[in-house]
Symmetry: C2
Subunit: 304 residues, 2 copies
């Protein structure tokens, strides 16, 4: 039951549009527009923005300019600008670039790990260990993503136990937050709640982030079910930026505007100005040449 007793008073929205969103967009966005985009996000009240990924340009051309983007954006003192780091090489770039917060990623699906990062889950954990070692030397906090937690495009359903075990290891390795990714958006409310509840036996609920995709329209329902457990961190993407590379025609990350509308309705504080956010949605619609994938943005902007 939704009750103030269980709900967090304050929730942090982690804006992943510039990274997870643009990474899955069909078109490559010019560096200057990315910088303008992030600078506009910085003025909405968002406190955490993932601005790019220091990954091989060959692997993800959409993010090949992340280094320039990171150095080009205006960094407001009270905002955490993080970068995804896939390996030691990327970590060294992060350190050299003066990045203060990083994120690492692994997955609960062995097949997804092989196809997506050409290594086993165990090998990806070793990579993460090496990254964390460098991060510790520079006191850089490390956030961990686990993908496919509610389903894999190759293996189908994942077991709760395997996600719990992986989250427990990443937490023990020193990651400060574990973001649970429903990468293909197949999960429904009961499964999402059961999973987060189970993970919270190994990782404090305040340190678990929800990273849900809206491929099947379930993301907000899943978020509500998990807010009931006391979750305090939600990843989302403005204008629902990002597609789903595993399902043509499917949408990507849940839209920040829609999550914010929900949280405001629940009386949960975020510090974000929804009007300012929707103006950024308008900007995103301009540079993507596509309607926002946010129903709140469409309704407020009267777009169709």
């Amino acid at each position: 039951m939704i009750s103030a007793k269980y709900l967090a008073k304050k929730v942090t929205i982690v804006e992943v549009g510039p990274r997870d969103g643009l990474q899955n967009e069909p078109h490559i966005i010019p560096t200057a527009i990315k910088i303008d985009f992030i600078n506009r996000l910085s003025k909405t009240g968002l406190k955490t923005i993932e601005v790019g990924s220091f990954v091989s340009p060959k692997r993800i051309p959409q993010l090949s300019d992340s280094r320039e983007v990171f150095s080009g954006i205006q960094k407001l003192p009270d905002i955490c600008y993080s970068v995804l780091v896939p390996n030691v090489q990327g970590m060294e770039t992060a350190v050299a670039s003066g990045v203060t917060h990083i994120a690492v990623i692994t997955t609960v699906s062995e097949t997804f790990s092989q196809k997506n990062t050409h290594c086993s889950i165990a090998e990806s954990l070793k990579r993460i260990e090496d990254i964390i070692q460098i991060a510790k030397q520079h006191s850089i906090p490390v956030r961990a993503y686990i993908s496919c937690v509610l389903g894999c495009p190759y293996e189908g359903e994942m077991t709760i136990a395997s996600v719990v075990n992986l989250a427990k290891q990443l937490w023990a390795m020193g990651c400060y937050e574990i973001s649970l990714g429903d990468t293909i958006g197949v999960g429904t409310a009961g499964q999402a709640q059961a999973l987060v509840s189970a993970v919270s036996t190994e990782v404090p609920i305040q340190k678990i982030a929800l990273h849900f995709h809206d491929t099947y329209g379930q993301a907000l329902a899943n978020i509500v079910a998990c807010l009931e457990l006391g979750v305090e961190v939600i990843d989302s993407s403005i204008a629902g930026l990002g597609g789903c590379p595993y399902a043509k025609g499917a949408s990507g990350n849940v839209a920040t505007e829609d999550v914010l509308y929900l949280l405001q309705g629940l009386g949960i504080e975020t510090g974000i100005d929804i009007k300012a956010l929707i103006e950024v949605s308008r900007f995103v619609a301009e540079f993507t040449g596509r309607l926002p994938r946010s129903k709140v943005a469409l309704a407020k902007l009267g777009m169709s």
Copy 2:
């Protein structure tokens, strides 16, 4: 908390696409296509379909052929085909047409009532009383809609007490089910749950239907919050048919496919075949010339 203890084992989906959906579509769909559409819906496992409205053709040209549609469709014995009836004249048409189930509608907003039906709420209840009198003579069960329960385009927020009071009256008048309509889709999960919980003190929870629009993307989240109270009836519209006349660019009723996907994930029985339903979404996309407003349909059909 979502737990089998609270969730219904079986939920009835009331398909309102042919009425509430088409009523708010910009184009008038030919009678033959409407009949084909409803006949296809009849083969999906749906048990209740609202097929039209016996309203003045001047008021709603989109439904001016409801009488022909009702007489033209193939009526399967185990399916309830209902018609919306706005007044005694419409009720007489219903009786003459052999309609077995009807629905009436009122609203909790005085301004909405005046602007939408040119009468006060009290007058609309009098009309409903007259309709029910005729219905009783022919043993026709009457379902009642209350619109604007979570917000009015003119008055803004509505009080829970006023909705409870109206629902109590309609129940006392002999309506067998009270459908709570978030006509402009502004409600969020906490408000929806609080409202349904309050109404359930006057109307049995099994007799309360959720009629949520997805204007702000909140419908499924609101449905989950209310399923936790034991709700057993949900109104939805295939392919999210229907717009929102009060917000340009906004979507209408929550999509039946997305509701069904949620219910299946929760292990709740509906008797509906999602594959068959999605084939009807494809048909709807053809005759509307528009992509389905269902993320499940878009993902399953690979449309974009």
